[in-house]
Symmetry: C2
Subunit: 143 residues, 2 copies
């Protein structure tokens, strides 16, 4: 049931992580810690949030007065940053499942954590990821 899925480390380049999300049109990435084990999730929406200037977050009406050239440089904020800088201070809990868990077990964990993807472990090794849409595909074709 697991899918191949790009994984990034906490210390990976933030620009590269954003490019991976964009190129593969992913809802999020699994972020691994220094030990190679899944640590958190980096949702694409969180990266979008990071790109929005602080003063626009505080007063959204200011977004309309930014010049096009400033808008074009929005992604520059990613330069020199790491994935760790993008993840919120309280990192969202990643759903972690075992490769022999049933579809109901995976669904239950995703549902409880409201997480759009689950990391699949074989013992202590990350072997893949299951997105919510992939789980639906399996559920709908189960019989």
């Amino acid at each position: 049931m697991a899918e191949d899925f790009p994984v990034v480390g906490q210390d990976s380049d933030a620009w590269e992580a954003a490019r991976t999300l964009a190129e593969h049109r992913l809802p999020g990435l699994v972020v691994t810690g220094g030990d190679g084990k899944p640590w958190s999730i980096l949702p694409a929406s969180q990266v979008v949030r990071f790109l929005v200037p602080r003063y626009v977050q505080e007063d959204p009406s200011l977004a309309g007065v930014l010049s096009e050239s400033m808008a074009d440089r929005m992604a520059d904020k990613l330069r020199g940053r790491t994935v760790r800088d993008l993840v919120p201070e309280e990192p969202p809990e990643l759903a972690v499942v075992a490769d022999d868990d049933t579809i109901v077990e995976v669904a239950a964990i995703m549902a409880r954590l409201k997480c759009p993807l689950a990391a699949v472990m074989a013992g202590s090794t990350l072997v893949g990821v299951i997105t919510a849409s992939r789980l639906l595909e399996v559920a709908l074709t189960a019989r």
Copy 2:
């Protein structure tokens, strides 16, 4: 910047909506109301949540004792239901933007609502959708 994107009505068939999410591997769908205007968002993770039996939601350890054949019938819960049945009682607020908004305006609205997609309107007509990953793509290639 907008993408073609499947849209479902509140009264659309729940099974068909789940199949659309699965087939196109989408993080969510825009749900329109009776007037054809965007009403809410149906995240794939919400459909997964709907499929999990109530007693498993309350006690996740019960997921492991379900037989495979019960697991295979998990999606049957969608039969005869509409999209309205899947959306939470307090429907999440959908980000709605105008087709001439700048990328910073779109990002600001997505960030504020923590919404993984935005509906794009030309006047009162829904003309497309922007996902968070699509917005990143535009931001990273802006120059």
